[in-house]
Amino acid sequence: MSQTTAAPADKPWHEIVLATLKANDVKLIVYVPDRVLTRLIAALHADAFFTVFAATREEEAIGVISGAYMAGLRGAVLMQTSGFATLPNALASLVAPSQIPALLFVSERGTLGEFNLGQALVAKTMRPVLDALAIENHTITRHDELAFIVDRSIKQAYATQAPVVFILSPLLTGGKVFAA
């Protein structure tokens, strides 16, 4: 299960993400589930401001929010690290060349206590892909920086018509803990 960090703020991380999405009028949320994102996804579903649904693949979710953006509706995709690993083609052939401000939230697995070797290796493909495509990305580890990073970066994404990826570190979310 996800846990909040011992940061001073009174709100858990997922409430801050939800509030920041709302403040920036990001209404469409498409996701492929991840355990750590459970409470964020549940809270988004429970809030009528958002249109929220699961896609069968992360690429599909990217297609949906790209279409929505072009038609005037802001959207974000939620996924885990292994989901990001399915995306280089969609990012390189649609999002990046078309300059679509896609917002991606990636729950980071594969590090800081990963117990699945496959997850650990998949995670290693993420940053090289982001670097190769020069896609703006932030690894968020600190609760007190979360709102600032997400809010400013969403505004930058729309202002500059560029995608942005938020990597939610286990330091922020608590990650997935190995039940030994």
């Binding site: 896609a55 599909e60 990217i62 297609g63 279409g67 929505a68 072009m70 052939s93 060349p97 078309s98």
Partner: protein, 198 residues
């Protein structure tokens, strides 16, 4: 194999694309899938409400779904190849679940990956695209037996009772048009065409 869909009339993608576009009277958005689907769409005239995909094979229907959700009053038509749809079949289940009334999916089934050398797709022999779509939950899914029926199905789909899927058996000809390869220009023109940008 003796599936019913093998007895359908084999038609022309360019001809059917022309017929489909001619039925659009309300600035409907059209998403042309990778390769031949958008080449023939381009050939029918560059409506500002057309979006031409230069890559991202299989994402035609997801993109169209996003447009349909964002603009529920505008009808959206996705033109997709059989091979491309087979790559992203899961999207049909998402469309069925979201059930946008303003989405029509047209599948050009030539039974091949024409543009990469005409290798056979599963729909050449064993897979029935319409049966798959129905199984995914798209109740309004039908094969067009001929050009007349294609037009009738299009008219009914554009009426807004959707989502609908129309599949047409087409020949193995390549697309005719030469889409301009400028993704940013295509995106900006489309956004203006559907009033999402000044």
């Amino acid at each position: 194999m003796s599936n019913a869909f093998h007895n359908l009339k084999v038609m022309s993608r360019l001809d059917l694309t022309r017929r489909a576009v001619a039925l659009l009277k309300h600035d409907e958005a059209v998403i042309g899938g990778i390769g031949n689907a958008n080449f023939d769409l381009w050939e029918t005239g560059q409506r500002p409400q057309n979006f031409y995909m230069l890559g991202s094979m299989g994402l035609t229907i997801p993109i169209a779904l996003g447009v349909a959700i964002a603009q529920p009053k505008r009808h959206v038509v996705a033109l997709e190849g059989d091979g491309s749809l087979l790559m992203q079949l899961g999207c049909l289940t998402t469309v069925a679940m979201q059930a946008p009334k303003n989405l029509t999916m047209v599948v050009w089934d030539n039974g091949i990956y024409q543009i990469t050398g005409s290798q056979p797709t599963a729909s050449k022999s064993t897979a029935d695209i319409v049966a798959i779509a129905r199984g995914a939950g798209i109740a309004n899914s039908a094969w067009a037996a001929d050009e007349d029926e294609f037009e009738k199905l299009m008219v009914r789909a554009l009426d807004g009772g959707g989502p609908s899927l129309i599949a047409a058996r087409i020949d193995g000809e390549p697309g005719v048009g030469k889409t301009e390869r400028d993704p940013v220009a295509i995106r900006a023109s489309f956004m203006r065409g559907i009033a999402a940008k000044k």
